[in-house]
């Protein structure tokens, strides 16, 4: 790519990232289309009450309904519909899918990012402790704790927590979907369980530990230490902000996946529970929409992370890599 001298490299870098995100979303839509296209079953026959159609009849009908013969024709018309905000109607409720999904996406958003925050609150202190002290006795216990949280099946630990909660408070911490009033603890319980059980803590601990100890052995940190100034002030960006934002961007899909289970157990009205219901009913417009929306969220988080990265580390915009 020709780099013009007038534009700032940061702006150019971000423009390129926007392009990349756009093409990735096109690719994502292609994958979703490919899955749905190759699914068994004949939608045309379903429209006409399940009768077997001859080739001539099929051709005739496709021309009448304005459906393209080729896969790329169908893909193109599907894509144009998506851009106009038409994600189809739910087979179950008959409502437009996109409206329902965006209505519930807010709840999942709270759940997912709250859980991410909790995970980091648990993982960060452990990682810093391990980076500074190595695996001594307490460090080993913390490390094993991090491993165990990733190995316990989330759906079981959530049930156990509900059980304990009911024993102490005599109420169920579930029922946001049915519109019951819930206090703060009841609202926080699913968020906390997802944060603990989505399985990202152990990997976060390992990654942050390695990054922090790598940065702390660099020359500039040693110089800062020798001068007697605060080490964290100098190493904050490289040892903490960049790895943490990287971790958030790369682990968000896992937390969204865990949200399906937590929403199911705690009766939390979000798109995870909706996806489960849709898969149960084989309501594929709904699940297609949810897949696209979550992929969009993942890509946007990644874009945000890259923006943050290039802001705190302007050198990155000079790198001429081809991704």
């Amino acid at each position: 790519m020709m780099v013009s001298r007038s534009a700032k490299p940061v702006v150019l870098y971000l423009t390129r990232e926007l392009y990349v995100t756009f093409f990735l979303l096109i690719g994502v839509s292609l994958v979703v289309f490919a899955v749905l296209y190759s699914a068994p079953g004949d939608p045309l026959a379903a429209v006409f009450g399940g009768q077997v159609l001859s080739d001539a009849q099929r051709e005739e009908m496709m021309r009448n309904l304005g459906i393209s013969n080729t896969w790329y024709g169908q893909y193109w018309s599907w894509l144009v519909k998506l851009f106009n905000g038409d994600f189809g109607t739910s087979l179950r409720s008959g409502q437009p899918v996109l409206g329902e999904v965006t209505k519930l996406a807010k709840n999942t958003f709270y759940l997912t990012f709250g859980a991410m925050f909790f995970s980091l609150m648990i993982a960060l202190p452990i990682a810093i402790y391990l980076a500074k002290r190595g695996t001594d006795r307490l460090g080993w216990v913390l490390m094993m704790f991090a491993y165990t949280t990733s190995a316990v099946p989330l759906f079981w630990s959530a049930y156990i927590v509900i059980y304990i909660y009911t024993r102490f408070f005599n109420t169920l911490p579930i029922g946001l979907a049915t519109g019951e009033s819930m206090n703060f603890t009841q609202m926080m319980l699913p968020v906390f369980m997802l944060g603990l059980g989505s399985g990202i803590i152990s990997e976060t601990v390992r990654f942050l530990r390695d990054e922090i100890s790598r940065v702390f052995s660099e020359d500039y940190v040693r110089t800062a230490r020798a001068k007697g100034v605060s080490v964290w002030k100098h190493a904050l960006t490289e040892a903490l902000i960049i790895p943490v934002s990287e971790m958030i961007a790369s682990k968000i899909p896992f937390v969204i996946g865990g949200a399906i289970i937590v929403e199911q157990i705690f009766n939390w009205p979000g798109i995870g529970r909706m996806a489960w219901q849709a898969a149960q009913d084989r309501d594929y417009p709904v699940i297609m929409c949810i897949t696209l929306v979550t992929a969009l969220i993942v890509r946007l988080t990644s874009l945000l992370q890259k923006t943050l990265y290039v802001i705190v580390n302007p050198r990155a915009s000079q790198e001429t890599k081809t991704s």
Partner: protein, 297 residues
């Protein structure tokens, strides 16, 4: 002469001891624990195949429902229909084994192809591979699995296929890093200079001689994840289907009785999941520290 012999012994002693000296005692403990779990899994598979079960897994004893461990005749208790838990736990391995292997094969094959293309051939394919892996990484796995389940049918082979594909980017990234590092080494350059075909350099000299422990580590780490995801899907009702037992649907059935205070019938399979997954994680990590020498603390 004697001096020479002495140096020989010290060197050989050193090289014999070095791998154990270099690694933490804890890593060795992890590996031992992981190998014990692995052996238990293999034993359970053999027992399930040949039918050497300690109890009939289908026999129902309605007077002994939801019994805790240590109930008469039932070492690990019974489920909600009074079926013995232990043989059902063992039977599950049979349902997991082949799909699990398929998952590993898909992940390593696909990830290997991507890794070789971007690591060995460099710029020519790197953009394409990064593009494809980024697309795969955009999907939350569980949602992609639900999409596939809704479009096709709930089947463990489909699920493991999706899991293999979604794990390929990670494997590809690791292999790519390793290959592009080895690519700079003299032995690869001399192999190229000798006119050895690329395929032989990649498969024999790079992958087989230098990456095989790495691939095994990846496979073990991935196995733990596969068990967790499969049990999550079974819990949601899309994994292994009834009446075939799976750890996920055993926990789920037990959990229906959990709020009545019947803890055991879901806790036992959950513990089975936990110890097995922990075993695979620790084995992978311990091997990684042992063979790759990641940690020099």
């Amino acid at each position: 002469m004697t001096q020479y012999a002495q140096t020989q012994t010290t060197v050989s002693e050193y090289s014999e001891l070095s791998i154990l000296q270099r690694t933490d005692k804890r890593d060795i403990a992890y590996v031992v624990y992981g190998i014990v779990i692995l052996l238990m899994v293999v034993c359970a598979y053999l027992m399930a195949i040949f039918g050497w079960l300690p109890h009939d897994p289908e026999e129902m004893q309605l007077e002994l429902m939801l019994a805790g461990p240590g109930a008469p005749g039932h070492l690990l208790g019974t489920d909600f229909m009074g079926r013995d838990t232990l043989p059902r736990l063992i039977l599950v391995i049979k349902a997991y084994f082949v799909p699990g292997l398929m998952y590993i094969a898909v992940a390593i094959l696909l990830g290997g192809i991507f890794g070789i293309l971007s690591g060995y051939y460099g710029n020519k394919y790197e953009t394409v591979v990064t593009y494809i892996t980024n697309i795969i990484d955009s999907f939350p796995r569980l949602i992609l699995m639900l999409l596939v389940v809704a479009a096709f049918k709930p089947d463990i082979y489909y699920i493991m296929m999706v899991l293999g594909v979604t794990n390929a980017p990670l494997v590809s990234q690791l292999i790519k890093g390793k290959i592009s590092m080895l690519r700079q080494k003299n032995f690869v350059e001399s192999a190229i200079a000798l006119g050895i075909p690329d395929a032989r350099i990649i498969f024999k000299h790079i992958l087989w001689f230098n990456c095989r422990s790495y691939l095994i580590i990846q496979a073990t780490l991935g196995m733990g994840e596969a068990i967790l995801l499969e049990s999550a899907l079974s819990y949601l009702g899309f994994g292994v289907q009834e009446p075939t037992p799976s750890w996920g649907n055993m926990v789920q059935q037990g959990a229906n009785y959990l709020l009545q205070g019947q803890l055991w019938s879901s806790t036992i399979p959950a513990m089975a999941i936990m110890f097995t997954v922990l075993g695979f994680y620790l084995l992978g990590d311990g091997l990684n520290n042992m063979l790759e020498g990641k940690r020099q603390s």
